[in-house]
């Protein structure tokens, strides 16, 4: 399948408008899912299901949203921040995400900011390429 980034973005926007009940113009590449678009935990699953359908791909949830497995491991999280090990784990699990900015102050409360519309587009593109 050959879809360019614009086309993928367009479809991802459609998925998010439906899943989160937001307006078209709210869904920009830099919008954060939780902060800007008000996504809650069940919405992540809804988004995964809808993406699978829209693009005909299979998405293990921990691949797109690996935060939960990190959060519950004391080796990875200490005092509300990701440890070095945790950070390395995050980077290896989220190759489709730029974590440079987050790594400067890896506070768990900021982890949500990594989940942006653009990050989903990157993820879908990598999946489509692999398919």
């Amino acid at each position: 399948m050959t879809m360019n980034r614009e086309q993928v973005l367009g479809q991802v926007q459609g998925v998010l408008v439906d899943a989160l009940g937001v307006d078209d113009d709210e869904v920009k590449p830099e919008s954060t899912l939780m902060g800007d678009l008000g996504a809650e935990s069940i919405d992540f699953l809804d988004i995964v299901f809808r993406l699978e359908k829209a693009f005909g791909i299979k998405i293990p949830r921990e691949e797109l949203f690996p935060a939960e497995t990190l959060m519950n491991n004391p080796e990875f999280v200490n005092n509300g921040k990701l440890t070095e090990k945790g950070l390395a784990e995050l980077q290896s699990k989220m190759p489709h995400t730029d974590t440079t900015e987050f790594a400067k102050n890896p506070d768990m409360s900021k982890l949500g900011d990594l989940f942006t519309v653009g990050m989903i587009v990157n993820f879908v593109q990598s999946k489509l390429k692999a398919a």
Binding site: A19, S41, I42, D43, L45, D46, F49
Partner: protein, 159 residues
Amino acid sequence: MRWIWIDKFIEFKTGVSAVAVKNVTLAEEHLHDHFPGYPVMPESLCIEAMAQTAGILVGEAKNFEEKVILAKIKKAVFHDCIRPGDSLRLSAKIESIADEAASTTGTITCGDKLIAEIDLMFSHIDQNLAGKEFPEDNFVFTDMFKSLLQGSVLKAGNG
């Protein structure tokens, strides 16, 4: 009052789809207050009836081992009112199912008339909310719901 808003299943395809019926009657007390002189089935209860139809379908797909909780109403569009004497047909389909959750689509019809379209998401709560503990017992699928399924599905046949 028993909190069951469907009367029986007439079709059941494991992991795929189910059809339940619900006969609305003036003997249901809430209809006398909703509304006095103009009884209509509350739309919230239509959603509950669909949640029971689709929820049992989702639960049965994993042999009732998961605690299946209604997590999100993705869509609820109503085209008409439901009145006493109406025989409703609730059709639910599993759209996606994973370890953690399932999403379903559904319609409520009365005769040929489309009354409502209701799409839902269910969470398997033991697989989510990691770290939180829930009772061992499956408090969702009580004997009440299971007996509803057994009685009617055996008759309807499991396709």
